[in-house]
């Protein structure tokens, strides 16, 4: 029953690591046709294309500047060179930036999912009149380019004394991320089986218990996917943190990477190294949660 609430993103995570059992069964019963092989080939090619920038970062992170000048960006490093990474680490006090990014992203992820769920409960299950327009209005936060929002937000947060404060960034991203979350969850909850809700209200559940005892447990797989997305999206944000986090002590990882971009010169190898350092935490985060997630979702489906 909870298969209805799987969004495409969740479906993609399910498809990610090949589930062992179905594949075995399939290879024993049906032979792969030429078409299957073609599709596999195309999929591998697309996968490689997507991975190319990552490989370039990886290669150049461990290359010395001399090596880069001599052989360009496309060759493998002649020997491993860690100075770029170490220099960057010390120059920006990386652990501090890592903590800032982690703090902002996780608070945003949790709060934004909470706000999304509350909104979506009202819009999807509560069936508020004119909900399409409300959802559209909320989505504006997501559709407007951030450059447009920058100045109004700057004056607002300056007047309430939150300029140069991480909470400014947290509040902004909770709103922006929950706009998408509300849109997605509202349509998911719009198809929520009425029978369950009716049964619950017959048992005497009020709206609050219905939300936390019925809707929340069933939508949990979708919510956890949203947590991951919000975390990664917030982690990678640049423009708004750049504007609102003035002091170095409060800055995030992507903002600190910009230190390496000079007026006229760029340092490709150190920039790659810093990009790798900035990317690793999100990758690790995703790998940890992705495993448990897929298990959770499939477990839910069987039940």
């Amino acid at each position: 029953m909870s298969s209805t609430i799987l969004d495409p993103a969740a479906a993609a995570t399910v498809a990610g690591p090949p589930a062992r059992e179905p594949r075995k069964r399939r290879s024993s019963t049906t032979r792969k046709t030429l078409g299957d092989w073609m599709i596999l080939l195309v999929a591998i090619l697309i996968g490689l294309l997507i991975a190319v920038p990552f490989f370039l970062i990886l290669i150049n992170s461990f290359k010395s500047p001399a090596d880069y000048n001599a052989a360009g960006p496309l060759t493998l490093p002649t020997d491993l060179y860690f100075d770029g990474m170490v220099n960057f680490w010390q120059r920006v006090d990386f652990p501090e930036k890592l903590w800032n990014s982690f703090f902002i992203s996780s608070v945003v992820a949790i709060l934004a999912v909470l706000v999304s769920l509350l909104n979506a409960f009202a819009l999807g299950i509560g069936r508020v009149r004119g909900r399409t327009w409300i959802v559209l209005l909320i989505l504006l936060a997501n559709m407007l380019p951030q450059e447009v929002l920058l100045y109004p937000l700057y004056f607002m947060f300056k007047s309430v004394g939150l300029y140069d404060n991480q909470w400014a960034v947290i509040i902004i991203f909770v709103v922006i991320q929950s706009a998408f979350g509300t849109y997605l969850l509202a349509s998911v909850l719009g198809t929520f089986p009425k029978e369950i809700l009716e049964a619950a209200s017959l048992d005497g559940a009020n709206k609050w218990t219905m939300l936390w005892r019925v809707v929340y447990p069933i939508t949990k797989p979708t919510l956890s996917v949203l947590v991951i997305f919000f975390f990664i999206w917030t982690w990678n944000e640049f423009l708004i943190p750049l504007t609102f986090l003035v002091s170095n002590a409060s800055q995030t990882v992507p903002v600190s990477i910009a230190v390496l971009q000079g007026d006229r010169l760029m340092d490709v190898t150190t920039t790659s190294a810093s990009a790798l350092l900035g990317l690793l935490p999100t990758l690790i985060f995703f790998l940890i949660f992705q495993r448990t997630l897929t298990r959770g979702i499939t477990a839910g489906a069987v039940k």
Binding site: R91, F102, S106, A258
Partner: protein
Amino acid sequence: MKKTKRTLSGAAILGVSALLLSGCSGGAAESDSNTLKLWHFESETSAMGIAWEEAIKVFEEETGATVEFEEKSFEQIRSTASQVLNSDEAPDILEYNKGNATAGLLASQGLLTDLDESVAEYGWDDALAPSLQTTARYDEDGIMGSGPFYGVPNYGEFVEMYYNKDMFAAAGLEVPTTVAELETVMKAFTDQGITPLAESAAEYPLGQLWYQLALTKADREFVDDYQLYTGDVDWSGPELTYATETIKDWTDAGYISTDATGFKAEDAGTAFINGTYPIFFSGSWWHNRFTTEATGFEWGTFLFPEAQMSPGSAGNMWVVPEKAANKELAYEFIDITMRPEIQALIGNNGGIPVAADTADITDAKSQELIGNFNILTERDGIAFYPDWPTATFYDELNAGLQELINGTKSPAEVNKQIGGQYQSGVDDIVG
């Protein structure tokens, strides 16, 4: 399902503990009357970074005040300065970009302090050549060249020829002293199958070469007309016609590769470092990098032959925000950075000081660089950069030159096109 629950609540606990631990971090630092809040965006190993670190030490010793220094990214100062300087988070002093669109704009908005009194008191103007003062002064519309001082530059920059001595020696060639000799040198390389000029038309290098060619035929009046809007620029006049036609001729002769349309400055620079091209016409900002990275061959520099003027300017400068809490300390700090010993530190680490005693410069390569710069300033030969007049001209010039190189437009058509774009941009500014 159980796993998910545990993971989710784990994430929730992490988030909440983050809330508790961090509290309200990044709050406003209280400004203290004995603290100088200073920002700049030079890395600590660069010439300016080294010199300013010493200046901070001297400043703390002499005044007893403490310096609260933060290294900012160029990007952050560039894109958020107007917001930060309008708030209580403004530092007492910061390094900021010179130019109409940057320092000029902030000055016209009243965000920067008028430094005229301090300039007179400390005599900084005596140390700065007239063409270096241009970018430090802005009028009420934020146009550089006249009006009060809003900044004090510490270093300069200019564009010159870098050449690969080993490749010149192998081909039996000498440093050219006229444009005709330069063309002979380039011809000799082309005959050997070597493209002589490392160029990039996707970014600034080719535009600077084009401007340099125009400067070989130009005088100071042309530069003032072009840069400071004091008169009309004739886009079919001898200077710009010669520049565009020469780029075309050099491309046709193979001195400039048509591949340059897709090259960035970084590509041209690394191609010079790895010895693909023998000549690179670009800025002094490469000097330090070539010193440390172009170690496979001997290289040298010379000013563009037969030119009285070259692209160049004073560097980015110290500005004092109008909202700064401790302006007097900021002035004292600026004065320390202008002292000969701090200026010599800039010079000995690959930068170009604006007020150094040449006798203090010990490194031979740096002497050559600073010598060339001093030759230029002494003959009033700093001519700024081609893209300065309007905010969009950088891209328009690059696009025009790309079309010129790949042959889609003739020199006359290109000049007509970029001339029109230049004029409409200037009309918007001058009104």
